[in-house]
Amino acid sequence: MSIDHVALLPAYFAAGTAVLAFLTDLIAPGRRAPVAAVTALGTVATGAVAILVGRGGARPTFCVPNAGCSYLGDHRGALVAAVFAGLTLLVVALSAPSRLPGEYHFLLACSMTGGVVLGYAGDLITLIIALETLTLPLYALVAMRRRRVESAEGAVTFFVISVVSTAVTLLGAALLYASTGALHFAPLAAALAHGTRPPLTTAAVVLVLAGLAFKVAAVPFHAWAPAAYDGAPVPIAGYLSTASKLGGLIAILYVSLYALAPARDLVGPTLAVLAVLTMTVGNLGALRQHRMVRLLAWSSIAQAGYILAPLGARSHFSDAVAASLGYTVFYVLLEIAAFGAVIALRGADDGGLLADYAGAARRAPWASGAFVLALIGLAGLPPGLAGLFAKVVIVRSLLGGGSAWLAVAVALNAVIGLAYYLRAALALFAPVLSAPAAGPRRAPWPVAIALGAATVAAVVVGFAPQFVLDAVGR
């Protein structure tokens, strides 16, 4: 078996970034600037290599004759790798105000490696291992807000639930292997395509999906998310709600697109029910929140529901996947901008209560403006055009597939969503009743640049949505 090392370059670069971050921390202990710089450069290099290799056409490798390839080196994988690298870069920049130990960046880069490999995964085992590589460092990262009980609580909840969900997915994969004898996506799909489906296979499909649903915090497997987000340092909460969520979604997309496509009659309705439950419960939960990060956590649960919805429709599968991916790109940009604004306004340690943001619009008009734009975008209204087009993508895909009830569910949920996004945005304009809350007077420059970059990117794709649609549609 020959191995195409060029196709593997993005993964090498990502892993190399982690190693370099670790070594830099050993060479210059206690100093955060060199580690952060090395990690940032590594993420840039990883993203650039992924794009360069991706331009050259598909380069599958680790192939087994008559079965398929474990590593698909294709365009979609390159897009996923580039998005992971970009998100990691933003999170590194957003972590600038926090006093976190050196291994922070090492763990972050490790997590990115998982995400990069995930995009290229061609069989169930590679997929699950990549997803675990993405998630494992996060247990430690969530717990890094030392001397905080909530942080440890969040980390333990997250750890236990995540491990259980991985076990469930693995069990499903094992059962699938038992009933079909295949792990690679293509032969798995071929095996599922013909012949009757024994109950064992049905159970296996549902188990795989349920396990992955834990990762995206889909209802009813969502309870860990608010606790983990709120306990984690704010940049890690941002990473959880963007990169980690993206990982889970990519896994669900790949499994349902490549492996379980013939079982559409089972996958579709399961995901449709999951999607509607997720968006509704997420939105209703967010209505009651008084802590900013918890509100964003619940809202990101709801957003996962929108992302899953097209997969539940009867539309052409690749259209549905393109719609889901398109929405995800818009969402990830807006979400990371929202967390960036929280950090710019409140620092990286604690998101605080909604009431703590009183007077922020006066104190820091630019960061507040970016925050309001991100929130409005998440609500899907102009001037947050990126979010508006994201909703349009979803509704268009659902109606193209003839799932009008799902489209109406998405539309009505958008109305609930606006209620709490507006509440969060209004908090910035509230008058200051007491002494100004503690917080940095000026955001450090890496935070300002990251926030500015995310906001500009969101505005640009808002005016040129075709850019994103082309990238995910190929």
Partner: protein
């Protein structure tokens, strides 16, 4: 690009640039910011007037734009930047630019203090001004962009996009500069109308998915894939609910009285004057124009609801004790006449709807300006505390009387034509249902006379109440911003051809397309 296309782009771009310019001026130069906004509004008004010159309808019926611009935007979403103006949209475009200009002019002299969200609001003790006048003017311009976009859009997805643009700026206007209960009213407005908008989104893509195109010109002329009866019905119901929320149509009107009452004067003027017309225009151009089969099946229901709106609006007005709330409920009744006209699906009905739209925009805009002036002077909108305006401010009282009489539909003033034609259109359909509806609508018209005369008796006649004494005269600012509306109410009343002449051919084409 030819001159017409430049004017189309200018009408949208000038207010947008003006809004940016007003926001970019420093806080200390608030008045300069408002001046920038006013200049932009004036330029946009000129651009909209300019659209009239060299107009020549072209293309297939029923939408034959005078000028149009068609540029690709996002093919993956069936979205094209396709805008154009024709005889149906032109009067509304001019009304929008005119009212926005008048409101911007008005803010040059006077605007309510920005009341920060969350502060316990006491109406008699407004919080100190924070230089928010230029922000208010900028928001008005953004709203103008949205409304003009809706009237100009010839692409369904673009239409939806502009439909949503107005939501948040209007929310901000009500929540930032409104009365005592502004936050609740603003939230109700934005959530209620977003509910309408999302149904519009679903309806639009039901049409786009079935027809394969989002181009309004192609869809109206039936050049898209033919839509089946079931699809037409489903899409029409979705769109009709969306537009009924905006118009508003009873029983989906409950956001309107709160929003109109709590909004600042300029907000109420824009809301009543042009924002509501997005609903009736959408119903006519998009729902009826694209889905004639669906329209024919749902029309009787629409007609019944419209007449219910007329009667409910009238009866509620008779019992109202608050000045702005009364005018707001009268809007429900007037828009009922407009919707009744559309529901008849006849040439006369469509013409009634169009002239009713314009007349309501002019007259109710004027009424809200006057009510705002009374409330600003007396700090009360309670009819029990008002009285004797005739003695303390004869000019204001005369104007209020004029506007009220115009609104109740006196022949010779603008309000008459829309209501009379709507009733005639319903009568001409001949069936028992429509005859009953016509009679009831006429009764509703009489109710309007009753409640407006009651309003005048309470406010202008009788001895001056303590709150009414020593109130100021009509200022220059007020005179300048009201005069065009006073003149237009008379002009449209005497020469309805001002509106009907422009719209005659497109309305004929549309009615033909619907009944084919």
């Amino acid at each position: 690009m030819n001159a017409g296309q430049w004017l189309l782009v200018g009408a949208l771009a000038l207010p947008a640039l003006g809004a940016l310019g007003a926001l970019a001026t420093p806080r200390s130069a608030d008045r300069a910011g408002r001046l920038v906004a006013t200049v932009a509004a004036a330029l946009a008004f000129l651009a909209s007037i300019g659209l009239w010159f060299g107009h020549r309808a072209s293309g297939p019926a029923p939408i034959r734009p005078w000028h149009q611009l068609d540029v690709g935007w996002a093919p993956g979403l069936n979205l094209r930047f396709h805008i154009g103006v024709d005889g149906i949209s032109y009067p509304l475009v001019v009304l929008t630019t005119l009212l926005t200009l008048l409101c911007c002019l008005y803010t040059l002299w006077t605007f309510p203090a920005l009341s920060v969200a969350g502060r316990a609001a006491v109406p008699d003790d407004p919080p100190p001004s924070e230089g928010g006048g230029r922000t208010l003017a900028a928001l008005l311009l953004v709203i103008e962009v949205g409304i003009l976009g809706v009237f100009l859009a010839l692409d369904l997805v673009l239409f939806f996009l502009f439909f949503e643009v107005v939501l948040l700026p209007m929310y901000a206007v009500i929540a930032g500069w409104g009365g005592a209960n502004r936050r609740a009213a603003a939230r109700k407005f934005v959530l209620y109308t977003l509910f309408g908008s999302v149904l519009l989104l679903v309806g639009v893509f039901v049409v786009v998915a079935a027809a394969g195109t989002a181009d309004l010109v192609a869809l109206s002329s039936g050049r898209g894939a033919a839509l089946s009866g079931g699809t037409q019905l489903a899409a029409f119901v979705l769109l009709a609910i969306a537009f009924a929320v905006k118009s508003p149509l009873w029983p989906l009107h409950t956001w309107l009285p709160d929003a109109h009452t709590e909004a600042p004067t300029v907000g109420s003027v824009i809301l009543a004057g042009v924002l509501l017309k997005m609903g009736t225009y959408g119903l006519l151009r998009v729902a009826v124009g694209v889905l004639p089969d669906g329209a024919r099946r749902v029309a009787p229901v629409l007609g019944v609801l419209a007449v219910a709106a007329i009667l409910v609006g009238g009866l509620v007005c008779l019992a109202q004790t608050e000045l702005k709330r009364l005018i707001a409920y009268s809007s429900v009744g007037h828009m009922g006449f407009v919707l009744l006209g559309i529901a008849t699906l006849t040439t006369t009905g469509f013409q009634a709807a169009l002239i009713g739209n314009i007349a309501h925009g002019v007259i109710t805009g004027l009424l809200f300006f006057l009510a705002g002036a009374v409330k600003d002077r007396t700090h009360s909108g309670d009819l029990a505390q008002l009285g004797g305006l005739r003695e303390s401010a004869p000019a204001l009282s005369g104007l209020l009387g004029y506007a009220a009489i115009a609104s109740l539909g006196l022949p010779g003033l603008a309000g008459f034509w829309g209501e009379a034609f709507a009733v005639i259109a319903a009568l001409r359909l001949g069936s028992p249902l429509w005859t009953v509806l016509a009679v009831l609508a006429a009764l509703g018209g009489a109710l309007a006379a009753a409640y407006f005369l009651r309003l005048l008796r309470r406010v202008t006649h009788g001895p001056a109440t303590p709150r009414m004494t020593d109130i100021g005269r009509v200022t220059v600012a007020e005179a300048v911003s009201w005069a065009p509306l006073v003149v237009l109410a008379l002009a449209v009343g005497l020469v309805p051809a001002l509106v009907l002449g422009i719209a005659h051919d497109p309305v004929l084409d549309l009615a033909r397309a619907v009944t084919r």
